[in-house]
């Protein structure tokens, strides 16, 4: 069985670090952080995402693919070549690691969309890449795109997070922002694509919990043309951010407020402007609201966002040390990454914390 055929509830560990000054650091800190929460994973999924790791190709889309068969690779590369100019194609460097079982073939491509597509449609690069990802993942058996952003990359597989980090040689990459995930699924998918983070374009999502409103969130997204292949909560969360923020243009902060809406008893006490805003959010985006236990880290270029469920049924703590902002399931995991913290605080129920690169910092 693989992800998408069944829905698999999981418990998890999540952790993230951003240097708000945009200073790049290697994957060891995030590995220490997630490894510290070993108990929260069971060896059936671990993964990382690093931002700013491909400065030499910063403007190109970095596609990470896993192939289960040689045929899948042939088909995908043929399709890729038709629609994209491939600047670089190579196997993702790995090392043999105890605790990481048989891996699929792992390849990465640095690409740019060809100016004229076969169907003549005029699309910008992001739409082009999204369509490519949907097509490969939906139609080419044995091929799976698990990373598709620019100057960032997802690394994930079946194993404990620390072993996955060694396997992908994360100490050799330097990024200004890292997010990681350790998974405790309730049964054994044994499929590398099912590990987290989930990434689409520059966006990546890690999540600890179970979205009890999955049924209606999924039907709501389907109405807007999304096809939920993986049947995971993470996929739903990623698409909700995509729909509300990218397509509907709702400010990021309000997207968070729509997904973990304030209670009516509080809205009733707000002043008029706020009451109008939140009443409308709940009326219009009620089907997008996430219910049940979760803590989430959403990352995209220059931004790391932590979000906790409406009544804090999952842990989530934030910390600051110099120019680092950290978020994770446990305080110990934050301290393990950077040592003593300058400040540490909990994200309150239904609240979000958004960490951004400082003004003027480019990466």
């Amino acid at each position: 069985m693989r992800e998408g055929m069944v829905r698999i509830p999981s418990g998890c560990a999540i952790s993230g670090i951003i240097s708000t000054k945009g200073i790049r650091f290697n994957g060891e800190a995030i590995t220490r952080s997630i490894a510290c929460m070993h108990e929260r994973a069971n060896g059936l999924g671990g993964g990382f995402v690093g931002y700013g790791i491909y400065p030499a190709y910063r403007d190109l889309y970095a596609l990470h693919l896993m192939y289960e068969t040689a045929q899948a690779r042939t088909d995908t590369e043929e399709y890729l070549g038709r629609h994209f100019t491939v600047h670089q194609a190579e196997p993702i460097p790995t090392r043999k690691t105890a605790g990481v079982g048989e891996a699929p073939m792992l390849w990465r491509y640095f690409v740019w969309p060809k100016e004229e597509s076969e169907d003549g449609a005029d699309r910008d690069g992001d739409d082009y890449v999204t369509a490519f990802v949907m097509t490969v993942n939906g139609r080419i058996p044995g091929a799976f795109v698990f990373s598709s952003g620019r100057n960032m990359g997802v690394f994930k597989g079946v194993g404990f997070p620390a072993d996955i980090a060694r396997f992908f040689r994360l100490e050799e990459y330097e990024g200004y922002m890292w997010v990681s995930h350790g998974r405790f699924p309730t049964n054994t998918p044994g499929w590398w694509g099912g590990a987290h983070p989930l990434g689409i374009l520059d966006w990546s999502v890690v999540h600890n919990g179970e979205v009890s409103s999955y049924g209606i969130n999924k039907r709501y997204l389907e109405m807007f043309g999304y096809c939920l292949e993986l049947q995971t909560d993470t996929e739903v969360i990623a698409y909700l951010f995509d729909l509300l923020h990218r397509r509907h243009g709702v400010p990021l902060d309000l997207v968070c407020r729509a997904l973990t809406a304030p209670f009516w008893k509080d809205i009733d006490r707000y002043e008029e402007r706020e009451r109008a805003v939140y009443t409308a959010l709940r009326r219009v985006y009620g089907s997008a609201m996430l219910n049940g236990p979760f803590s989430i880290i959403v990352a995209f270029n220059g931004t790391m966002l932590g979000l906790n469920d409406r009544i804090k049924l999952r842990p989530m703590v934030c910390g600051r040390k110099d120019h680092f902002i950290l978020m994770g399931s446990e305080e110990s995991a934050l301290r393990e990454a950077v040592g003593d913290l300058d400040a540490v605080w909990n994200i309150r129920a239904g609240e979000r914390f958004i960490a951004r690169l400082e003004e003027g910092v480019t990466v």
């Binding site: 509830p9 179970e210 009890s212 409103s213 999955y214 209606i216 009326r283 219910n291």
Partner: protein, 532 residues
């Protein structure tokens, strides 16, 4: 004329317990109970009034007949009014055990209906909803609950939200930045706020008594929900409750003027009703007294006939015109609802209604009640609300227009479990008519069309309507709504949800038991035992 029809029920008086107070005799509007005077009463009468039929007195003395209550079983409708109000608990009513030759095809009710028609030559009338043994899909669906991987939520310790808005929603919102934070730029269509996802179904003043209407209005206000005038207009006594009243526009246009439209918080165009799809209404002239006349704006004693179709709506574009005429009349300040009966092509019809500009669609399933309908229509026309609701919600989603309308489901909702299942199938709110009447005392005797309702609900006879104390009836309705709301919170908590919108349309939380593949497909749910 007695005819061939045996009594439906047998009334048994326990003469040992009965202390001959005559309460029941005075109370039965159907005249099923009489006081039979025995010897002692007869003798007293002779003393008081003088009477010369001594032979009768002698006979009674000889037979030692005491005073007693006797029943005319033929007239009993099993409304339980006498049973409930007998101070001695001396009355019981049983179904007539009269045996019929067993015949699966020709059931006793078929025979009885034929006898009745052979005697009267009329079409048979009835009240309330379809009572036949059609399969109940509600009874073959079960809800989910949390175990281990996600925690259930205790509604006694955590906030649990049932607030619901009925009205059209845009697909997306626009904001602009203001000095104190984001400001809402999108202008939202008008909507009605409900504190719990329940409303009272449309029941007209005329079909039900003014006291019943008052009770519904008072309860709606107390609960923060809506009552619906039905097609009988709005009595002036209900004006103080207008903020909790949806006013109806039906094919007879009774009681409608601009003031009526503007007074309610929402306007509903009634196209059809689950108990009588495709059929109009008929309020007999006897029920049209001074008050009903003024409220309906028709002469006293005249029959109020609602045509089967609206004669200005012969197609969807005509409906659209009426929707916008009502929006114009109310200056776009109130949502306009359209109520239809659940029929075979309900999904396409609902889609058309959404596109015609309605803000709310009420779908009434074939179990929905009525004050009067031809029996043959009630029992054989229309489809179950569960199927209709699932089909409509699916279709609106497929077409990407589910946000444009709110869906209200009705037709045989019996308890909060049915409410939760209807919401999970896709309803924004649920309308209850029969359940509300039962809360006020109704025993589902199905004789509403006779105007003899002993409980003072479906009647205009002053001596009967006086039996329904609107304040007490309202209290019972408030209790019902409160009880169901508490239960809904328990259900949500068990599902690990703390807001009703997270259950709305979440069919993943339903499972079918004993349903066919095609049933499951139409309902859009999985079979019990199949995981997520």
């Amino acid at each position: 004329m007695r005819g061939y029809l045996p009594p439906e029920y047998l009334v048994h008086i326990d003469h040992g317990k009965c202390r001959r107070c005559g309460n029941c005799v005075r109370n039965c509007a159907f005249g099923a109970l009489q006081f039979e005077h025995g010897a002692w009463q007869q003798i007293m009468r002779i003393f008081q009034h003088g009477q010369d039929d001594l032979q009768q007195v002698f006979d009674k003395i000889k037979e030692n007949v005491p005073d007693r209550v006797v029943a005319d079983h033929h007239k009993c409708v099993q409304c339980h009014y006498c049973v409930t109000h007998c101070p001695e608990g001396a009355i019981s009513v049983q179904p007539n055990p009269l045996a019929y030759r067993g015949n699966y095809h020709w059931q006793p009710h078929h025979l009885k209906n034929i006898w009745l028609q052979a005697e009267t030559g009329g079409k048979l009338l009835t009240g309330a909803g379809n009572d036949k043994t059609y399969f109940s899909y509600f009874d073959h669906m079960v809800l989910d609950a949390c175990q281990v991987t996600n925690p259930s939520i205790d509604p006694l310790r955590e906030p649990m939200e049932l607030r619901t808005y009925l009205g059209s929603r845009p697909d997306a919102l626009e904001f602009e930045s203001g000095p104190d934070g984001p400001v809402l730029k999108t202008k939202l269509a008008p909507a009605v706020r409900l504190e719990t996802p329940l409303v009272f179904a449309g029941m007209s003043y005329g079909a039900v008594s003014l006291n019943a209407h008052k009770a519904l209005a008072m309860a709606a206000k107390a609960c923060g929900i809506l009552m619906n005038t039905g097609e009988g207009g709005l009595h002036t006594d209900l004006y103080p409750y207008a903020d909790w009243i949806m006013v109806q526009v039906a094919s007879g246009r009774f009681g409608i003027d601009p003031d009526y439209l503007r007074r309610g918080v929402a306007v509903e165009i009634k196209i059809g009703q689950g108990a009588k799809p495709g059929i109009g209404g008929h309020l007999p002239g006897e029920k049209v007294d001074e008050e009903v006349s003024r409220t309906r704006m028709i002469p006293v004693g005249s029959d109020a006939l609602s045509p089967a179709p609206h004669h200005d709506i012969y197609s969807i574009e005509d409906l659209s015109q009426l929707i916008y005429a009502l929006k114009e009349a109310t200056e776009y300040t109130k949502p306009v609802a359209v109520k239809i009966a659940a029929v075979h092509n309900v999904a396409a019809i609902a889609s058309g209604i959404a596109r015609a500009g309605a803000d709310i669609i009420t779908i009434d399933g074939f179990r929905g009640g009525t004050g009067a309908t031809p029996l043959i229509i009630r029992d054989h026309v229309g489809i179950p609300i569960e199927m209709a609701l699932a089909a409509v919600d699916d279709r609106l989603r497929q077409e990407g227009i589910r946000n444009r309308v709110s869906l209200v489901a009705s037709g045989g909702i019996r308890h909060s479990g049915d409410v939760a299942k209807a919401i999970a199938l896709g309803a924004d709110a649920v309308a209850i008519g029969t359940a509300a009447l039962i809360a006020m005392g109704c025993r589902l005797c199905q004789k509403c069309y006779t105007g003899n309702c002993n409980w003072g609900i479906a009647t205009q006879k002053p001596e009967l309507t006086a039996r329904l104390d609107p304040e007490r009836a309202a209290e019972r309705l408030v209790n019902l709504i409160r009880g169901w709301s508490l239960e809904l919170k328990e259900i949500l908590g068990a599902l690990g949800l703390n807001a009703v919108e997270s259950l709305r349309g979440s069919r993943l939380r339903l499972r079918g038991i004993g349903l066919s593949e095609s049933d499951l497909r139409v309902l859009g749910i999985k079979n019990a035992g199949v995981g997520a």
